[in-house]
């Protein structure tokens, strides 16, 4: 019987520990424990309207918390009590879907990542249109970026976080060793040639190709093609796109200047280590990646030069706006108008855009602030890279395209992530045409 005593005591202890703290949970414990992590801005303000936000990035949460503090300073008559919750990426989007679907449990505001955005523009849209806060400012934005978060009627639903212009980051140390002058790289042919020089003279590849859609979508958009035509017919397997994928895959198989990205994508820790150690001579990634480079690949400080994409024959597009999170206001928001105003204050205003750069290191989607003093003021980003980042961006401002999305775009991206790139680039078990045709076929089966 004695042993039972032990087991029961254990169960009981667990139970009691549980109950004890369960009670404390309502009291001081929670307040103390939370004080540092979950910040509720404006908790002590009277008559403050509660606004909460779901996000998947801790830095976004901090950005909004800071904005809330500034809001309360600026509008003491209309204070807000702001809380941001950070969830795992997938779960945040899934929970948001479920909460919007069932009409209950959604936050006032939510960050939605670009690839997930179309999922939320189906049926009766459960997000609030943001036209009234956008329209006064629309001319100051890079339009291609803002359009990404709109539906087919042209209503805007998401406030952009950055321009996210796809650029090439050249590692000058390696380029010098290979004897390549990066200013001479104007077309993709030049790029391949430079790549061959790099692989001949150094022991690293020119670049690595990620296994997700970052490895193809920017190229497709830059060449002026798309996954869908204007009538929303799926054309991902047309000749033009096949050629583009052939080009990408030729860097790996034919020209031997590229490898598959370690870890499979640019956000993998394996890749951070690889890139940091000078594992590749150049990186094709959007401007928001500067943030990642500074935080995770410190050794590259001072070694990188950012340039627009090399040109395709017959297209003068120099960059493609990629990735990016749109902040939305849900129809379950307690005070829709106030929430919208706060969102405009935080992300659409000039000040907000300047903070995007200063706090998060994101290139603001408003080009009219690019020349402002605050943006040009010396900071660690310029130290890490170089001073003329915004001059380069201003230079190509009209040559940036965005991506166009519809409800089937996530299917396309899914197929690319799980089948196309894997089979063509890593396994080399399918030709680009085979892979794209197979993917298109499987997507068409699901299109009603």
């Amino acid at each position: 019987m004695k042993k039972w005593f032990g087991v029961l005591t254990l169960a009981l202890t667990l139970f009691l520990v549980g109950c004890g703290d369960g009670n404390g949970d309502n009291g001081d414990d929670a307040a103390e424990g939370d004080a540092e992590e979950i910040v509720t801005v404006g908790e002590d303000l009277e008559d403050a309207t509660e606004i909460n936000l779901w996000t998947f990035a801790g830095s976004h949460a901090e950005f909004f918390e800071d904005a809330a503090v500034r809001w309360n300073e600026e509008y003491p008559d209309n204070p807000i009590q702001f809380t941001a919750e950070t969830y795992p990426f997938d779960q945040m989007h899934n929970n948001l879907t479920l909460a919007l679907q069932s009409g209950e449990g959604a936050p006032d505001m939510a960050d939605i990542e670009i690839a997930r955005f179309p999922n939320f523009l189906q049926g009766d849209i459960q997000l609030e249109p943001l036209n009234d806060i956008f329209e006064p400012e629309i001319d100051n934005f890079i339009e291609e970026r803002v359009d990404m978060y709109s539906d087919e009627n042209g209503d805007y639903y998401g406030a952009p976080t950055h321009l996210g212009a796809t650029m090439v980051y050249y590692n000058t140390e390696i380029m010098d060793e290979a004897g390549v002058d990066i200013e001479s790289i104007e077309t993709w042919d030049d790029y391949i040639e430079a790549g061959q020089q790099v692989t001949e003279n150094t022991d690293v590849p020119m670049t690595t190709i990620p296994e997700n859609w970052y490895g193809i979508w920017p190229f497709i958009r830059q060449a002026g093609s798309s996954f869908f035509d204007d009538d929303l017919n799926l054309i991902m397997d047309n000749d033009e796109n096949v050629e583009i994928l052939e080009f990408v895959s030729s860097m790996v198989s034919e020209h031997d200047i590229a490898e598959v990205t370690p870890g499979g994508h640019y956000h993998a820790e394996e890749f951070f280590g690889f890139m940091n150690d000078g594992g590749q001579a150049s990186l094709i990634a959007p401007t928001f990646y500067m943030n990642e480079l500074m935080n995770n690949m410190e050794d590259l400080s001072g070694k990188l030069e950012i340039r627009p994409l090399p040109e395709w024959p017959g297209s003068d597009t120099r960059s493609v706006a990629m990735g990016g999170t749109g902040t939305t206001v849900t129809n379950q928001a307690e005070d829709v108008d106030l929430t919208k105003e706060f969102l405009a204050f935080a992300k659409l205003s000039e000040e907000g855009n300047i903070e995007l750069w200063n706090q998060l290191g994101f290139d603001p989607p408003r080009w009219d602030v690019w020349e402002s003093e605050e943006i040009r003021a010396d900071n660690e980003i310029y130290d890490f890279f170089h001073d003329d980042i915004f001059d380069i961006l201003l230079d190509i401002r009209d040559d940036v395209v965005g991506v166009h999305m519809n409800q089937y775009t996530p299917d396309v991206l899914d197929e690319i992530d799980s089948n196309v790139m894997f089979n063509v680039i890593r396994q080399e078990s399918q030709t680009p045409r085979e892979a794209l045709e197979q993917a298109a076929e499987s997507i068409r089966a699901g299109m009603q």
Partner: protein
């Protein structure tokens, strides 16, 4: 008065205590939770499988979700899951019997230590386990698994990118976590084998192997049924073992399971009607396999009768 109410009380008590009523009272919490937490949502899900569900716009679309299910992707998921079920069942039903029998024999010193070390992996949550396994089976040459392989003169393997190694990862993760638990089930049952049986087998001159097959195994039968059922069903429900390695999308769908496909389509992609249809098909498959398996092992009969 008092007598009467006593009598009434007695009658109620008697009613509540009759052998006819008692079992129903005992199972009532189960019935309630079954209806609320399983039956109701299951019926809802079944209805959903005939619908196209968008926020505010739900319409019946007949069988078209079911027609979509029979796609190459689902076939891949089915194939992966089936292989996984076969492998995990083979490993997790048989190996623990051997280990338990050995642990139970007098040959093993420190058997408590062995038991504990076998059991400890099950204490780790799938998130922790997944993190560790991903780090051990990382693609770099510096990760443990590849170090061992190169040590023996092999080539480093990109574990998470090939279909055989993907299956290996999932099976090894699952086996690692559940081996100890199943050993415990068997050990518990082994205690109930009357020692006289072994003694008489000894007198008959039976070898260790013979004793194992003619005395041990028959006595373990109910628990083998139990373990097999659980393993098969859990195998068909497999999701997290894949999720911790690749989240929702594995390269080339090498880690895609049926439930994973359902989760991806229904939850991740917000195509709930289609997800529900996949779920119903998965359910039918599990149902058929389990009924066959249970019939085969005679689990519906009561005990030893």
């Amino acid at each position: 008065m008092a007598n009467q109410s006593n009598a009434q009380n007695n009658r109620v008590m008697k009613f509540l205590n009759s052998k006819k009523v008692v079992p129903y009272i005992l199972v009532s919490p189960f019935i309630v939770t079954f209806i609320v937490l399983t039956l109701y949502p299951a019926i809802q899900a079944f209805i959903m499988s005939f619908q196209r569900i968008l926020p505010g716009q739900t319409e019946f679309i007949g069988l078209s979700n079911y027609r979509r299910v029979l796609s190459p992707t689902f076939y891949t998921a089915f194939q992966n899951t089936t292989i996984y079920v076969i492998l995990t069942t083979l490993i997790l039903v048989t190996v623990p019997i051997l280990l338990a029998a050995l642990l139970n024999s007098k040959a093993t010193k420190y058997s408590t230590f062995y038991r504990a070390s076998l059991f400890i992996p099950s204490l780790a949550s799938i998130i922790v386990a997944g993190t560790v396994f991903r780090l051990i089976f990382g693609e770099t040459d510096t990760a443990l698994a590849n170090q061992v392989i190169t040590w023996f003169g092999g080539e480093p393997i990109q574990w998470q990118y090939q279909s055989w190694s993907a299956m290996f990862l999932m099976v090894i993760l699952s086996s690692w976590r559940w081996m100890g638990v199943n050993v415990m089930y068997y050990l518990a049952a082994l205690q109930n084998v009357p020692p006289e049986l072994y003694e008489s087998a000894d007198i008959d001159g039976a070898s260790t192997v013979q004793k194992f097959f003619y005395v041990t195994i028959p006595h373990l039968k109910p628990i083998i049924t139990f373990v097999t059922t659980i393993t098969i069903i859990n195998g068909f429900r497999m999701f997290e073992e894949s999720y911790v390695f690749w989240e929702a999308n594995s390269p080339g769908n090498i880690g895609l399971s049926m439930v994973g496909y359902m989760y991806d389509q229904g939850v991740q992609r917000n195509d709930m009607g289609f997800g529900a249809a996949i779920g119903v098909i998965v359910l039918i498959i599990i149902f058929i396999v389990s009924i066959i398996q249970l019939k085969f092992t005679g689990a519906f009969k009561r005990g030893d009768e």
